[in-house]
Symmetry: C2
C-alpha cells in the first residue's frame, strides 16, 4: 500500500521533512501544504539580503519548485489547513479561491512555524512597525529603508542585531532598544556582550539597554513618527519589531494535540496523537542540559527535526535527542557564537558553575591576519561537566562552538576538554587552543 | 629550599616547559641549556618564511631573550650537555669555548628534540642536499633558491609539501618524490589525498609517488646535479631532504634512561629515572586509540608535553594523556586536516572500520564565498566509536578536526556524533554540519 504523507508548512522544518521522507520512501504520496505563495527558502538569510551581502531573495531558495517537482511532492500553496480530523486521518484545506478539499494521511507532519510576537506596546500595530519573517517582510523593509533616515529596532536578539547592521550599512541611522540589561541576552552573558556592543557602537549604531519601548507614536494617517523609551522621545521613520516569535500551535491545539510551550513531541518527533508529528518553530524542545522544554526556533533545530520526522513518517525510527541552543552569527566583522547555558541561564536552572575565561589568538602572533578570540567556558561545579561556552572573535567561531557542543553532548568534564589533542599550523591556529585553555581555567576552580 | 629545575633543549617543548615551570614556581632556579645560538622559535613557521607569508625569521620567535630575562631563566646557549649524572643529580656541560661545568638539578627536563633522518640513498651527504629544521637551514635554502631553477624534494609529508609550495611560489620548478603510493601518507588515505595532488599539480609542482630516490648525483666539487628516481634521471640544482626526523635520545640513553621508539615516559612525562622528565620530539607518545607508542613530532604535542612536564618538575601533578596525531596545514589555498587513524593505519592496527564520506559546503549555497568541504569519518565496526577523520577544504578545516578529536577522546559513537547540536548562520556555516552527515553515513554501515 502506498503511504500517504502530508506535511503542513513549507519552511525549513517542513521542507526538510518532505525531502527526507522522499529519500526514505521513494513510492510514498507526499503532499506539502502551505498558506504562503513562496516556501522553501532560508529565513536566516533575510537580513543578509537587506544588507546586500546576498544579491537577492531568489538566492535564498533552498527547496525550489524544481526540487518539489523532481521529488514528486504534491505542492499546494496558498492553501490553508482549517482542520485536522485525527480519527478519520484527514485534513480539511481551503485554497486561495475558497475551494475546500479533504486530504487523507497515513502520517501527518505539522510544521506550522511561528507567528511574530507583538509586545503590548501602545502603537505596535501602526503601519510603519515592521517584522522580518518572510521575503515579503524583507521587501517592505527595503522599500521603507529607501525613503527613510532613521529606524528604531525593538529587540537586541540575533535577528534584531543582524537587521540593525544591514540597515546601518545601507546608510540609515539605527537605534536599538532592548528591555534586558544588555544585548543578545539569550546568547551571551553581559561580560561577553561588551565586545559586540563596541562593534555596533563603532558602526554608529545607538544602543539603549535596560529600557522598554513605552509607546510608538503615529500620525493621524497611522504613520510612525517616533518612539518613547524610558521617558525620552526619539523621532524615527519606521520601527522594526524584533522581539521574537511565538509557536503557531492553533491547528494542533484545535485537533486536541497536547501543547506545552509549543506542540509537545517525543524524541521521535511524535505528538500526543498517533501518526501526527510536529517539527520546527511550532514545537517545544527538550534542553539537553536542564531537561526543561524550550522554544529553540533555530534553523538548525528545524532542519534536523524535519529530517527525523520525515524519515519516521516514512517508516524509520530516527531520534532527535534535544537541543543545546547552539547558535552563531556575524555582526559586521565580528562572529559571535554560543552553546549550552550562559551563567544567567545556569543561575535560573539552579546549577552552580565554574567559569574559565581566556583571550587567545586565532593564529600564532607571527602569522599575519590573526585576531583575538575570547572564550568563556562554563562547567557544573559538582561534577565538572561542560555545560556551555560563549565565543567572540573575527574568525573561526562557528566550529569552536561545535567543538564545545560535542564536549557537552558527550558529557566531558572541563578537565577532559582541556586535554583534547587539537591541531595547529601557523596559517590556521595557534599551538594551544583557546577553548582548552579556558576549560583548564574553569577546571582549576573545581 | 629553592628548587633547581634544569631543561636541556630550547625548542617548543623545552621553552614551554621553562615557561610553565616558572608559572608554577615563582622562586625556582630554572636553567635552560641549548647547544644552538637561537632558540625559542617556531619551527613550523619556517616554510612560511621561505614562502614569504611571514616576513622574516625574527618573527618566528615565541620565547624571546626578553621572555627568558623577565622570567629569570638562566639561559646557557651554545652549550652542550655531555653527560647526566643521575645518582648525584647533576649535568656536565661544555660551552662554546670548550669550558666544562657541572649543573645540579632537583628536576631535569630533557627536550633534546630530533635529528634529521638521512635515508640510505647514495649521495645523500652531498653539499646541496638540505634539510629544513632550523632558521640556519631556512637561510641556506633561501640562498640556494635565489640561484636555482629547480629543486627536488624527497618526502611528501606535511613539511615536504609546505616547502614545495613555498619554493614554487618563489618561481622554482619543483619535483616531489615520495616512496609511498600517495602524498601525505601518514595524514590522509589515498582517496582524500587526490584533491591535494590536484592542487599541487595546478600550481605546477611535479609529483612522483610510489618511487624511491635511487641516487643523488653530484659533481666532483660535491655539488648536486641530479637525482635518479626509478630509472629516470632529473636534473636539479639542489635537493631538500624532507624524509622526517628521528628522536634524539643519545644523552638519555647514555644516562641509562629507558628508550623505546623514543625516550619512554609515563603520563606525567617522567622517564624511567626519578626526577627526570622528557618532552617533545625526543619522546615516544601513547596513541590514544591503538595504545601503541608512536613518535608524534608535532608542535602541539611538544608544547603540551612541555606544559605538563614544566608544571610537574615544579611540584604539580598534571597529566598528558596521549596523542591522536591531530594535524592540519595549508597548501596554497587548500587546508588539510586529520585526527586519529586513517583507514591504512586502522588496517595496520587490525581495527575493522566503517567509513562515512561526505562532501558539503562551508557556507549555504546562497551565501557568497563558500566552498566544498570533503570529510571522511572512520569508526570501529564493533562498537561504532569514532576513531578518525580527514578533512580537505578551502576554509574551516582546523576546528572541524578539533571537533572530531573531542568526539574521539570522549569515546563518542558515530551515531552520537551525527546528532551533535551544531550551529549555523549563513555567513558562517551550512545548516547540517558535514562532519555530522559523514558520521551518519558511517553509522548506517554498523
Amino acid at each position: 500500500m502506498t503511504r500517504k504523507i502530508v506535511i503542513v508548512g513549507g519552511g525549513a522544518a517542513g521542507s526538510s521533512a518532505a525531502s527526507f521522507a522522499r529519500k526514505t520512501d521513494r513510492k510514498a504520496e507526499i503532499t506539502l501544504i502551505d498558506k504562503h505563495k513562496r516556501i522553501g527558502y532560508s529565513r536566516c538569510g533575510l537580513p543578509f539580503v537587506i544588507g546586500k551581502e546576498i544579491p537577492n531573495y531568489e538566492e535564498l531558495t533552498v527547496y525550489g519548485h524544481n526540487f518539489f517537482k523532481m521529488s514528486k511532492i504534491d505542492l499546494r500553496l496558498e492553501t490553508t489547513v482549517t482542520e485536522i480530523e485525527t480519527k478519520g486521518k484527514f485534513l480539511v484545506a481551503m485554497d486561495k479561491n475558497g475551494t475546500e478539499s479533504t486530504i487523507e494521511y497515513d502520517s501527518l507532519i505539522l510544521a506550522t512555524g511561528a507567528k511574530i510576537f507583538c509586545p503590548p506596546i501602545p502603537g505596535i500595530d501602526i503601519k510603519g512597525v515592521l517584522p522580518l519573517r518572510t521575503i515579503e517582510d524583507g521587501l517592505l523593509i527595503e522599500k521603507r529603508a529607501e525613503n527613510s533616515k532613521r529606524v528604531v529596532i525593538i529587540g537586541a536578539g540575533l535577528i534584531g542585531l543582524e537587521i540593525a547592521v544591514a540597515l546601518r550599512e545601507r546608510g540609515l541611522e539605527v537605534i536599538i532598544v532592548e528591555m534586558l540589561p544588555y544585548i543578545l541576552p539569550l546568547v551571551l552573558d553581559k561580560d561577553m556582550a561588551k565586545d559586540v556592543t563596541k562593534e555596533l557602537t563603532e558602526l554608529g549604531i545607538d544602543i539603549i539597554t535596560g529600557a522598554g519601548c513605552d509607546e510608538i507614536l503615529g500620525t493621524e494617517e497611522d504613520e510612525v513618527i517616533g518612539v518613547c523609551v524610558d521617558g525620552d522621545t526619539f523621532h524615527t521613520d519606521f520601527v522594526i519589531n524584533a522581539t521574537g516569535v511565538r509557536a503557531d500551535v492553533e491547528l494542533a491545539r484545535n485537533a486536541g494535540i497536547n501543547i506545552g510551550k509549543g506542540i509537545q513531541v517525543n524524541e521521535h518527533m511524535e505528538t500526543s496523537i498517533p501518526d501526527i508529528y510536529a517539527v520546527g518553530d511550532c514545537v517545544e524542545c527538550k534542553h539537553l542540559i536542564t531537561g526543561e522544554y524550550v522554544l529553540s526556533q533555530l534553523g538548525t533545530t528545524a532542519t534536523r527535526q524535519g529530517l527525523v520526522a520525515g524519515r519516521n513518517a516514512a517508516g524509520k525510527r530516527d531520534i532527535f535527542p534535544g537541543v543545546l541552543m547552539s547558535s552563531v552569527t556575524k555582526i559586521h566583522g565580528l562572529e559571535i557564537g554560543a552553546t549550552g547555558l550562559t551563567k544567567w541561564a545556569a543561575d535560573r536552572a539552579n546549577i552552580d558553575v565554574v567559569i574559565g575565561k581566556m583571550t587567545g589568538h586565532t593564529k600564532p602572533h607571527y602569522f599575519p591576519g590573526g585576531s583575538k578570540v575570547k572564550v568563556k567556558v562554563l562547567a557544573r561545579k559538582d561534577d565538572g561537566r561542560v555545560i556551555g561556552a560563549q565565543i567572540v572573535a573575527r574568525e573561526d567561531v562557528g566550529h569552536r562552538v561545535n567543538m564545545v557542543a560535542t564536549a557537552i553532548q558527550s558529557h566531558m568534564t572541563v578537565n577532559e576538554l582541556a586535554k583534547v589533542d587539537t591541531c595547529y599550523a601557523p596559517p590556521i591556529a595557534d599551538t594551544l587552543e583557546t577553548i582548552c585553555l579556558a576549560a583548564e581555567l574553569a577546571a582549576k576552580k573545581l
